[in-house]
Amino acid sequence: MGKQVRGLLYLFATDSRRSIITFWIIFLSTMALSLFAAALFNSPNMRMFFWLPMPLYIYCGVFGFIMAKQAIPFSIKIGATRKSIFTTVILFFAGLAVLESLLINCVDILIGNLVSAVKLTSFHVMHPFEQIGPNWLSTVLIDSVVLFFLLTSLFAFGLLFYRYGLIGGGSLSGLVLVFLIIAGGKGWITDFGSFVYRTLSLTTFLYLFGIAIIVYGLSWLLLRRAAISKPV
């Protein structure tokens, strides 16, 4: 299995490189353009806020979802076992989450230093969980966990579509949507959100990591009998 895992890691890394580079080029270009615009219109009355990791969160969610559809059929065709795929995907996601988190937090530092150096008071880089990260390393850890959670959970969701098609995946999406509407109407979501916000700490992300592992573990039920394309 070791050789298969190495082969799959090479395959996933090679195949994803273009997509990842494209994202970073667009992301950094947008940042540069925003910085330029902020510098151009720099005034005490203007504020420009940039939630730095948000685009990356969205990208990783989409990446995880697409991975289910793109990586599994070819991996099976080339002769990988489902166990090898299952093992490699989680290793790849963990590596990708850490790498992307490191990159985004390096960009955060760079932009922070640049903004200070040029005294750009109108441009503010924000982090959704900045109040709980005592230092740079903890922010890297938090982002890694969030990205890992998004990658694995959306992969599991994508796997549902892969196995059961639009009907299966769409039905579950519909159920989730109905639940969200009901939960929103009854105020459960806001209650839960404020509870999480009040109790937000590094431990919360430990739980999130645990949930990611459980969700990914459950995805094995979908993967273990996955075929190349036709529903089984």
Partner: protein, 287 residues
């Protein structure tokens, strides 16, 4: 390597792509897997390669089930008519990926074949024409040196010269390292001489498994007057009869010498014709 298929069933909803197929093959030979569209050939090959699970019955390779079994699937390389590879990969990357999965992978042969088919190692799969992608599939299939190599219409888009080249390379490689090659094609006339044994599928069932030499010995096309042919074919299994201006031609299970002795004009039946009449439900019984 021994493949034992026992009452193999694959159903997609109500439809049975494979309907209780049983046979066994064990020798390193070139097998022709023939049949009309929808006969179940591709489904069988996908099950053999562990890509899809069977619905019922069993398929065993050296006594083991192929589905999700690394011991089996590392010995099986299935190349289909298209969609074999990831479009974003470069050829050299693809060859590297393959080297991780096929224990007997021959990188040197792969690079030789890449040159033979005038492909560039730096070209991306998505930039290849249909014929070039087929050539890449053939390269991977042959360089895998998998003890069970399966080609399912591997040369879509390849011109006649490239196909001829493929047949020659296939025979050369088979001669150097005999293995079980299962070859499915609709260009039967072209590939017929390669086959050492033929399996014909029809509507999910196996209708014939025979060595080609024996097939040539046991079947023939006879032509003569209607009376002569009727007399000769009486009591024999007839695949097809056609009559024109008092003359009759029949495809019959009979020895050529026996037919010759009866004064009939005798010819061999092309495998393609055999396939057509075996799967076209035009046997005398059916008529």
């Amino acid at each position: 390597m021994k493949i034992e298929v026992n009452q193999l069933v694959k159903a997609y909803g109500e439809k049975r792509a494979l309907d209780g197929i049983s046979f066994a093959i064990s020798e390193p030979k070139i097998y022709g897997l023939l049949g009309r569209n929808g006969a179940g050939k591709t489904t069988f090959m996908e099950i053999l390669a562990g890509q899809v699970p069977e619905t019922g019955g069993s398929i065993l390779v050296e006594g083991k089930k192929p589905f999700d079994n690394q011991a089996v699937i590392s010995n099986v390389c299935l190349i289909k008519e298209g969609g074999n590879f990831k479009a974003e990969l470069k050829i050299k990357q693809l060859l590297k990926v393959c080297s991780f999965f096929y224990p007997k992978w021959d990188q040197q042969l792969a690079e030789e074949l890449i040159q033979t088919f005038s492909l560039s190692l730096n070209a991306k799969v998505k930039t290849l024409s249909k014929g070039m992608e087929s050539a890449l599939g053939i390269t991977v299939g042959l360089a895998s040196k998998a003890p069970i190599t399966v080609f399912d219409e591997p040369y879509i888009g390849m011109d006649a010269a490239a196909r001829k080249s493929f047949y020659e390379i296939l025979l050369k490689e088979y001669d150097k390292a005999p293995r079980m090659i299962i070859f499915s094609t609709h260009l039967i006339d072209e590939a017929a001489l390669l086959f050492e044994e033929v399996l014909i599928f029809d509507q999910g069932k196996l209708v014939m498994q025979e060595e080609t030499d024996r097939l040539r010995e046991e079947t023939c096309s006879v032509t003569g007057t209607v009376q002569q042919v009727e007399a000769f074919t009486a009591g024999k299994k007839v695949l097809m009869k056609k009559q024109l201006a008092g003359m009759m031609t029949a495809y019959v299970y009979a020895n050529e010498r026996e037919a010759d002795a009866c004064g009939l004009q005798v010819e061999g039946i092309p495998i393609q014709e055999l396939m057509i009449y075996l799967t076209g439900h035009k046997t005398e019984e059916a008529l």
